[in-house]
């Protein structure tokens, strides 16, 4: 089979997605199936100067980083580069939260910095004509498997079901909460989490956003071994348009009731269930998981 040609274009970025991608475990196979006409780290037949000055044949355009027409690569505005290649490619993939929603570098001070189609959750008019071509794989950084398997789906002409932000539902229909090893503490409202422990859930005090963050972090795991919430760090909601919110290590509460509840669960339902479970003291969850 012919190699699919991919252009990896970085805009206002930290290259985190680039390095996350390098953690993809089956790189050998990937490089047999795909060829980068340009990549920030991997050698390519063409230089960046070639890319911006010529029009190189390409199947998929990957954009990493927030976008502003003021931001240039090899003296050419990234918007110009996107305009040129978006015409010839079959699909565009916005890689990571910056390219999708603006993310951290939305605040970098360039004129009108945003994602390709969204400025946070606001849909943009620019590039609207490209919407049908685009798939977003948000995340800060994107999970390598999410990126690579989306590329394979494009290669195999599979029609992926996308959510309102153009994200493949197969990855983003889940919440990050799904599969966390701390689930029981959440279910039974054991709310005395302390950092540095295997026990407890960060939802109540320490700002875990997983129940209302879309992604597969706890389903496919990171680096094939762990996830932030399993390790004991709150989910920062990095796949969402609102990333980064403020005061990330503490839960926004109103009269001690979390302001953001699990996605799709009404407040009354949540509070009723919480009230019931909270009434019970479950010994196993009150003590150390691995005790003497």
């Amino acid at each position: 089979m012919k190699k699919t040609k991919v252009l990896w274009l970085s805009a206002i970025a930290c290259n985190g997605n680039t390095h996350s991608f390098l953690n993809y475990p089956f790189m050998e196979q990937f490089l047999e199936d795909f060829e980068f006409i340009y990549h920030p780290v991997i050698d390519s037949k063409y230089s960046l100067e070639d890319i911006v000055s010529k029009e190189i044949t390409c199947d998929i355009l990957l954009i990493e980083g927030a976008i502003s027409k003021e931001f240039k690569r090899a003296d050419v505005s990234v918007v110009k580069i996107i305009e040129k290649y978006s015409k010839i490619v079959q699909k565009i993939v916005t890689v990571g939260t910056c390219a999708t929603f603006g993310g951290i570098f939305r605040e970098s001070g360039y004129e009108n910095t945003s994602g390709l189609h969204f400025d946070q959750d606001k849909q943009l008019k620019e590039f609207q004509y490209l919407r049908d071509k685009t798939i977003s794989v948000s995340g800060c950084p994107v999970h390598p498997e999410v990126l690579v398997n989306t590329l394979y789906a494009i290669k195999k002409s599979i029609t992926l079901k996308l959510d309102n932000f153009l994200r493949p539902k197969e990855f983003y229909a889940y919440t990050v909460h799904n599969g966390c090893t701390r689930n029981e503490y959440f279910e039974y409202k054991v709310d005395n989490h302390r950092f540095g422990e295997l026990e407890g859930c960060m939802f109540y005090d320490h700002g875990c956003q997983a129940p209302f963050t879309h992604g597969s972090c706890n389903k496919i795991l990171w680096n094939e071994v762990n996830s932030k919430t399993r390790a004991g760090l709150s989910c920062m909601g990095c796949t969402e348009p609102t990333f980064p919110k403020r005061n990330l290590f503490s839960t926004k509460k109103n009269m001690a009731i979390p302001e953001n509840l699990p996605v799709g669960v009404g407040k009354r339902v949540y509070l009723t269930l919480a009230g019931i479970t909270k009434a019970f003291k479950i010994d196993r969850l009150e003590k150390k998981l691995i005790d003497d």
Partner: protein
């Protein structure tokens, strides 16, 4: 002649001025910045732990550790367990190691006319990423080090896993980088002896010799390193004379008109930072020998960078053996950050050298944040009369290709430099 240097986590423009067929002066320009320091202003202090790793995709972890240490130095009497300290050191070591592998096989190889060895870069760096993820949940971009310690609890099973990642990586080094057992390599004191070994590193070193580049890329022979831990020492080295009595006070950052990068100097002089600097200050015998024979050239610089992989793997094993799992991972600070008005500094050794963070907090909110990255030290763009470290290293070379090699021997990172 202007050349765009690519694939250095971004680009830089080098403007070469020749005189009588030799490079006379090189102007270095970085074309963009992301204003991280501005983004931080007005944010809750702890949010810096999430934002700062995003300064850089390849050394973001060093930025996390620098952030947490800068924040911690804002407190008085903050307690930190030895376990937490060691864990932080370990994850930072792992990041340095993965960085060096990537640099060696992805950046350096093509400069010697070889094909990039992508899988040799990704295999060991993925192992190191896994080792970080055991503690931090993921790599890149975890924020697992928080004021008071680390968020994770570690079990014996985790330790066993970690030991496997490390020994597997050591094995990779033995099978590929330098084909001998680690012990022999680690105790080798003769730089020339290395030329007789098999392996990717000796290959490159022989190539340097063959191309008559042994003495190329020399600069001021002045080194500095501020990030102290259980392995690295703080100090400066002037032509092998090492002193440990240095203070951050004398580090100065200044704007340059032509570039988005800022210059960094110590007592108004430019110093080289990075693995070679660290090895000189640590008095690593193998590197000292290379330095004695070939000075602060690309030979020594490349050797020091790769050699650090084995040194750090070795040291990490010791750190793990000495971990006391009974200690707490985290000790809650007695003062709430929202009550804090203070200034804090930190210096840590990132892959490319000393990274400095400075934070000013007012009632828990960031009033000011300054970051000095390693590449800023090495790539300070001076005037012709007073050149930066990498500029000076390129002077006198005959061609742009060798100059690019010398430039990249500093492991340049564009995103960090301009942040």
């Amino acid at each position: 002649m202007i050349k765009l240097i690519e694939k250095i986590e971004g680009e830089a423009k080098l403007n070469f001025n020749f005189k009588e067929g030799k490079i006379d002066f090189v102007d270095i320009e970085f074309m963009s910045t992301r204003n991280i320091e501005n983004i931080l202003k007005g944010k809750n202090a702890f949010d810096a732990l999430v934002i700062n790793p995003r300064v850089c995709g390849i050394c973001g972890h060093a930025h996390l550790i620098a952030t947490v240490q800068a924040l911690e130095s804002c407190y008085e009497n903050l307690e930190l367990s030895n376990k937490a300290k060691s864990i932080r050191e370990l994850t930072l070591n792992f990041e340095l190691i993965q960085n060096h592998f990537k640099w060696f096989y992805l950046t350096l190889f093509p400069l010697f006319g070889k094909k990039q060895e992508i899988l040799k870069a990704t295999y060991p760096s993925q192992l190191m990423a896994k080792a970080i993820a055991v503690f931090g949940g993921q790599y890149p971009h975890t924020s697992y080090a928080i004021v008071g310690g680390v968020v994770c609890e570690i079990t014996h099973m985790d330790i066993i896993k970690l030991q496997h990642y490390i020994s597997q990586t050591s094995k990779f080094v033995e099978d590929n980088l330098v084909k001998t057992d680690s012990k022999t390599f680690l105790t080798c004191k003769d730089a020339d002896a290395l030329l007789d070994y098999e392996g990717d590193l000796p290959d490159i070193l022989r190539e340097i010799k063959k191309m008559n580049l042994l003495g190329h890329g020399k600069s001021y022979d002045r080194f500095i390193s501020f990030g102290q831990n259980s392995y690295f020492k703080k100090g400066k080295s002037l032509k092998t004379k090492v002193s440990h009595n240095i203070s951050l006070e004398h580090v100065k950052e200044s704007d340059i008109a032509s570039s988005f990068a800022k210059n960094v100097s110590f007592k108004d002089e430019y110093y080289e930072v990075g693995p070679l600097a660290r090895a000189m200050i640590n008095k690593n015998q193998l590197i000292a020998d290379a330095h004695k024979k070939y000075g602060d050239s690309i030979f020594s610089r490349i050797l020091a960078r790769v050699c650090e992989i084995s040194k750090l793997l070795e040291h990490s094993k010791k750190l793990i053996d000495n971990l006391d799992l009974n200690e707490p991972s985290y000790i809650e600070p007695s003062m709430d950050i929202s009550k804090l008005n203070s200034i804090g500094y930190s210096a840590v050794e990132a892959a490319r050298g000393t990274l400095i963070h400075k934070v000013e907090i007012e009632e828990g909110i960031i009033k000011n944040y300054e970051i000095i990255t390693p590449t800023q030290w090495n790539l300070s763009g001076g005037t012709k009369e007073k050149q930066g470290v990498s500029q000076k290293a390129m002077v006198g070379l005959d061609d742009v290709k060798t100059a690019e090699l010398v430039f990249k021997s500093f492991d340049v990172c564009s995103v960090c430099t301009t942040h």
